[in-house]
């Protein structure tokens, strides 16, 4: 079994009197495909924000590759190799697609030209033909691809895909899934947060389910589909 790359122990996040997350223990293994599901308000976004450094946990610790990252800033976590895409695409408007990727490459130490690296990643996500177009001109699917490309260009160890398929057609969902699977095959651990159940079931090796900030179930797609707690949360059974 591969090593643990990301480990959360007793992580809690509270806003005033509202406990948004935890206490939570959760590990992610190198190269793993982990799906996170749960209804709105179940703590999924709070979890991402705690991992990526937007929020600092009130209790507990987060370790990445053995290093305690609980209290370091978001940009430092990104440099260590934790990347994410946003549920609502956040391109750098006023820039071309290529320039959008050159921004994260500013801090990266890569072999060869940074522009070549950016072009290569854009080609891998199917945006080769849109390199010099302004990001404002992209379609919804292209914006999702740009989000993923920008997250990938720095060569992350962990990618968090936050509802990367929301609002897409079935064919477009397949395209995004293919990109994420190809990325995972290159060794990147992927955390997929998604409401499109058939996509998360197809993609994930392991799925965890959240409700009101707590992890209520964990297992394979088949186990989660049959889990009575999950069925109660999703179907009211």
């Amino acid at each position: 079994m591969s090593e643990i790359v990301l480990s959360m122990k007793g992580v809690e996040k509270v806003f005033g009197a509202f406990r948004a997350l935890g206490p939570l223990d959760l590990d992610l293994r190198a190269g793993e495909r982990l799906g996170i599901i749960g209804p709105n308000g179940s703590g999924k976004t709070t979890l991402i924000n705690c991992i990526t450094g937007v929020y600092r946990p009130d209790r507990g610790s987060i370790h990445f590759q053995g290093r305690d990252i609980s209290h370091i800033e978001a940009h430092r976590r990104a440099r260590l190799g934790i990347s994410r895409s946003f549920q609502i695409p956040r391109p750098f408007n006023g820039m071309t697609v290529l320039e959008n990727l050159l921004v994260p490459l500013d801090y990266c130490h890569i072999d060869g030209s940074k522009e070549e690296r950016a072009r290569s990643v854009l080609t891998s996500v199917g945006l080769a033909g849109r390199i010099s177009h302004p990001s404002e001109s992209l379609s919804q699917l292209e914006l999702r691809k740009l989000e993923l490309a920008r997250a990938l260009v720095g060569d992350p160890k962990v990618l968090i895909a936050d509802e990367a398929m929301a609002g897409l057609s079935e064919g477009e969902i397949d395209e995004v899934l293919a990109i994420l699977l190809a990325l995972n095959r290159s060794g990147v651990a992927v955390i997929m947060i998604e409401h499109i159940m058939h996509a998360v079931m197809r993609f994930s090796e392991r799925i965890v389910c959240f409700e009101t900030g707590r992890l209520i179930a964990s297992g394979t797609s088949a186990e989660i589909a049959e889990n009575p707690l999950v069925r109660r949360v999703y179907f009211g059974e």
């Binding site: 940009h75 990104a78 946003f86 956040r90 820039m95 320039e99 500013d106």
Partner: protein, 292 residues
């Protein structure tokens, strides 16, 4: 009575004045237009830059050389100002516009008082051999004391625009204006990017100050007369459009010169706002800004 010579002189003078206005507004185009920090102290910092140039000119240095020497200390001053601003506001969850305006208004007063204490309240000017004469083309007369400062504007604007559009750190400055959180997830520290941008904006103040004091005498409270005009330029250009900044500044400069020549010089200060109101009525995002 209408005279083609007066018209020609007014247009040329307006273009040159507009170019100087663009230098004055450049720092604000970065702090307000790109970083969304309403630094109303910027014109006062330009005046401080003029006094810096004046001081070095007393030791025999050319004003332009003095401005180049001033780039580093003014850049560092900008870093310090942003550090203070971010400690006071941003790290505590952000500032509202009124708080920021109050802070920079206070800064402006402090700088003015420091200038009065250091230099007195009298007008100060620089004298260089090449700014005493004029260039003549028939009926057109262009004084060097206006021409040379006017040439500084496009040079500085081109340098800043090339930096913002062609370098990675310049691209990061443009990115921070749009998506601060996405920038941090991309591995860049938004605070460091903004600090650097604020440093560049403040460094432009010393070059603009050199232009100002080459045109005519400067006094510590001179920044107050420029605040409205530079804000009008930045807003009408489209908040952060650097080339747009130059175009709008020239339009305002020409309009002011025409009003001064054909109507009444005392009406000139109102011209920038009249153009601003008209421009925003047709394009609320500014003439060179993207629609949101």
């Amino acid at each position: 009575m209408f005279s083609i010579d007066i018209l020609l002189n007014a247009i040329v003078t307006g273009i040159l004045l507009g170019s100087v206005y663009a230098s004055l507004a450049l720092g604000l185009a970065i702090t307000f237009g790109i970083l969304h920090i309403p630094n109303i102290a910027h014109p006062t910092l330009v005046v401080a830059g003029a006094f810096f140039v004046y001081t070095l000119a007393q030791w025999g240095l050319d004003p332009i050389v003095a401005a180049v020497i001033g780039l580093v200390p003014f850049y560092v001053l900008g870093l310090a100002l942003y550090l203070f601003y971010s400690r006071v506001f941003e790290r505590r969850g952000g500032a509202n516009v009124l708080q920021s305006l109050t802070l920079f208004f206070g800064l402006s007063l402090v700088v003015e008082i420091l200038l009065v204490l250091s230099f007195g309240s009298e007008l100060k000017s620089v004298n260089v051999s090449y700014i005493g004469s004029s260039l003549k083309f028939g009926a057109l007369t262009v004084p060097y004391r206006l021409l040379i400062p006017a040439l500084l504007g496009p040079v500085m604007i081109a340098a800043v625009w090339l930096y913002l559009s062609r370098t990675n750190s310049g691209t990061a400055i443009r990115a921070v204006a749009h998506e601060e959180r996405a920038l941090s997830i991309a591995g860049l520290d938004p605070a460091a990017v903004k600090r650097h941008a604020f440093g560049i904006a403040t460094a432009t103040a010393v070059v603009a100050g050199a232009a100002l004091i080459m045109i005519g005498p400067v006094e510590p409270f001179g920044g107050r007369f420029q605040i409205g005009r530079v804000f009008a330029i930045v807003v009408l250009a489209g908040m952060g459009s650097i080339p747009g900044n130059l175009v709008i500044a020239i339009v305002i400069g020409v309009a002011e010169a025409l009003v001064a020549s054909y109507l009444n010089p005392s009406w000139s200060p109102g011209v920038a706002f009249a153009i601003l109101l008209l421009g925003l009525a047709f394009r609320p995002q500014g003439l060179f800004g993207a629609a949101r």
